[in-house]
Symmetry: D3
Subunit: 238 residues, 6 copies
């Protein structure tokens, strides 16, 4: 029995509010239940030094959590003067995931930065970030296409992510915080709309798991990502 | 003529959405026009080292701006590894302003941290932060009173802040970004509901100003703060 | 009654020792009573990146306090690895104040940095810094004029600063440390020799103040700045 | 055809030189082909603050790479003043992997730190680190058992790790640097000697992969880890 | 021929102005020609953690250079966020030198920090710092003896330091900046008033030197230190 | 009687293992007894900014100690975010020492970085680093000569370093850790194969020393360096 009463393969309600802010080329407030992440996509007509003159663009991500997004206040990374290992690990994952669905050559010599800021946290902030980042990226690229800055679409397909875990012996989809802090294993899958896998990460927290467990988690993730793919399309009006 | 078409003594629409997040003891999304700041109040049952054992509490503030709150993306302070001078100046101002209306002895040995995070910026982020912080503080203290943790109210009165400036020779209230970047002088006033001044800061950016100019800015600020005081009371249901 | 026995509108003795060091283009040791600040003006034939190629110069300031300038030793900011919020706030204020009297276009594409290092502190270090910085800047610019590097004088007028405060209910001029640590309100005014105001900052520390209080502080500041203007002129031999 | 001429399921030669240094409680120089990592295990009779008084121990890891471990010299993290996101991600993974086979309560209130320093890099430094760390931990714990500081063995079983990847369309075991920089997908598996999985991470670098691909990589990892388990036992004389 | 016209064994004029600042327990402005260093001695009734409860005191030093102490402005270490290797090397040397003449047990559980801040630099800032630090320490200890906080004198003897070098083939005493930047070898000697050596450091900058050269430099240093010892005694009124 | 039973003028066994790693242009594992340092020489076809376009090269060094090179684990400098004063002092010394035997003009516009990483420490890590760095530099330069990148040899002669000290009243050569931590004076000499001195540093730790003591330490250093010179030549096959 899950604390929230959800079925093992049931996502929390997915909410996607596009164009949440006015300045960014793309922006979205995405919610997986009580987890809320604001994602903005910023287009800059320059690329990082290692790509200069190579005729391709770049997609990157930064991640942050507001100090009181969580149950008890955490310290502000800007005040501590450094980003934690967890923050860096997450923002590297988000960037890789979005690059997996972007044709960087078609993007041209420009960079799109996806800022994922967690307004409220209840488990699954990195997977909500990836799923929302696709929407923000889609909106920003649509603007580039509409303005004629881009003539062909560099976004190849959709990407979404969801967490799964083994909670009290049962594989379950989309862990919330009470489940996340008590799970035996915790996995994050980044899946593409063509069914391929961009990233699989499954970590034993208590008891280790076996091959069958890994596969059951992956299959739950497919169910969740299909829901997210549908919500993404609806949000961007496709 | 103001770019927005407002009268010289006209505030932008004030919006205050209390209880915007679920974990913080107090939270609010405050808007002065397109400027949107999320303020949370976090209560901790401890005080900073310099106050330990002195029988009083503390109210402090931190301020941040999401990288794409602005027209063009700014760098993330957590990634740069330090807070700018501007950020530190603003968070010190917010903390002082809220302490000006708090009886720290009545608060008891606990600290309330006001995190002011700018979601969207269009001028006046520090004044919106102060004005919103009072609401978040009020909500958090109401919770402490309701739970019996506090038996007398440590909040003495209301505090609000607004910017004014001399724009194309005319003193105007509540500068938005186009005015702010082009004003001859830029002032921030922090006023109390009893009419007293907690803080006055008036900086010449282009032409310097005189005593009469300073007074006219102050009088505009009174008009604006009265609007904010009313909106604050409505938001907290008083 | 002031701890020092001064009248409410009485400055501490102002001492200005020009050319205190040999290498800087301009240098001065300025004293407001026991507060002593060494200010040097360094001319560099380059401008910061944001001004390159714009046909104008820049005036900026840095501020520091020697660890034992104060009653008890403070930690060295270079050893802590960062400048405090207070330091940054002060150096931003000094820079703005001097730019208020400088025609940056007439200065040409060069930067003058005003380093204000507090040798001994007894209240009013930021106002002594601003007042001394004008002298150092004047001396450095005189050297540029004498050498023919500049043909017209970019310094438009004088700038000086002084603190005032409400001490035991009475507005007083030029707070020393015992007054500063016990004042109800603490203000800093940066005034120009033509009577205009470049910056006004008045902060309630205990009881808040009203419009009349603000004006009385401003009028005291005028008295003090007139003394400083005279001392500046004498020091630079005008 | 692999650049090294190895069969797809063939590990590079595994070398394990125990007791490589004299001061550490456990130490080992482990090699997977040209990848060489020095791992030391340091026992300290204290635990980190979050565990004080909880009657359990802690196992943690730090990771570093000598500047010229690689083909071209990289900058020294100590000189840059911060550890990269990659370094932090790796050391968190190593720590989690070793804790998966340690009974922290049986360890008692002491901490064992596993320092993994890459002397020479040719792909697979994180997996060699984990595999070597088990040997260093085993040697250090044996010393604690021999001295009577521990009376029961807190190490539950063996842990080892290996990388796999899809190289030119073929799943291969234990990527060396030429393969790693050119693979379509890159996975790291941390496996236990009872067959369970502690951690699976599979990242698409070029083409994304499918469920069958993930399973084939996992099966290769089992082959490699069995070789490592045997080499570990031989090195510690069991 | 030396640029300054001095004889090879001739010091620059030594100036020592004791009690240069009012707050520090001991303070001095020491000059070796145009090199001017402000040294303050701060007494604190606590010792660093590694000495707690060991019944002894500590003498330590910090060193800094004002940005425009030099011919061209250097960057401020507090603004850069770290002390250079040179700064750290010098402050370690100053601390060791003063500890060489202090009976730390007789000092009791207190720390004296010697802050050496270079106001103006013309070669020899580290040796002027050491020589001035002895004066500041002497003054501070005299205050502790006068107040009865100390009953026996922990200062065993005098310490002084001077630079020497091989300039255009000739060993010379007390290098100024033009000599220092052009010397073949540059040495610093820290000598005690009983004739012993606390520290000798001789570095070849151009041509290396031989044993005879080292001895000749040492003998010059003795001449210089004897002058400094006399000036120190006069300054402290002994 | 020395703890190790060595005669006062007896070095520990010197071991030099050239080409210890595969990627660096030169590499060596040098041992003075239980002190083991890995030195790599990395050639880069660029010079630091201050040398650009000056037609000469540069030789520099970095130094580090693995956290558990020592008897008890020290913290990792990369994790602390800064290099200690001791580290910086040592790496500056190593760089100066190697530049003393290199004709930087003959080297051409390239930089050779000597990374000295202490694998195991038992006293004398800086002197072993210098002595090993010469070998690594020699090997790297030999490769440049063999490839034709260099046509004349920029290495003028050999350089070696050794520590000496006054231990229980007796001058002894090549201090190991038990001697080092208990010596009255501790000296490091950097000598050239032509008999000249590149650097002499002698520090009193307990009792100060006299001119005779300094000379006796220097003479011991000559004995030790002659042994090292021979071992260096043998290692590089000359």
């Amino acid at each position: 029995m899950r604390p929230s009463g959800r079925a093992p393969d049931q996502m929390r309600p997915i909410s996607i509010e596009p164009n949440f802010t006015v300045h960014a080329e793309g922006s979205v407030l995405i919610g997986f239940g009580d987890t809320k992440v604001l994602v903005t996509a910023s287009v800059e007509e320059r690329v990082p030094p290692f790509l200069r003159g190579k005729g391709q663009g770049w997609v990157t991500a930064e991640y942050g959590m507001l100090p009181r997004a969580t149950h008890t206040r955490g310290s502000r990374e800007a005040a501590k003067g450094k980003q934690s290992g967890r923050t860096q690990e997450i923002q590297r994952l988000i960037g890789r995931s979005l690059r997996a669905v972007t044709d960087l050559t078609a993007l041209g010599e420009r960079q799109i930065t996806l800022d994922c800021d967690v307004i409220q946290a209840d488990g699954g902030t990195r997977t909500a970030s990836i799923s929302g980042a696709w929407v923000a990226l889609r909106l920003a690229v649509d603007k580039l296409l509409a303005s004629g800055a881009l003539t062909s679409d560099p976004i190849i397909q959709q990407v979404a992510a969801v967490s799964c875990g083994i909670y009290k012996g049962t594989p379950v989809l989309d862990l919330d915080y009470p489940e996340d802090s008590d799970a035996d294993a915790d996995a994050n899958f980044v899946l593409l709309s063509d069914g391929k896998i961009a990233e699989a990460q499954a970590t034993a927290e208590g008891a280790c798991y076996d091959e069958e467990g890994l596969l059951r988690l992956l299959r739950l993730a497919r169910i969740g990502c299909n829901d997210i793919f549908a919500a993404q399309l609806k949000a961007v009006g496709r």
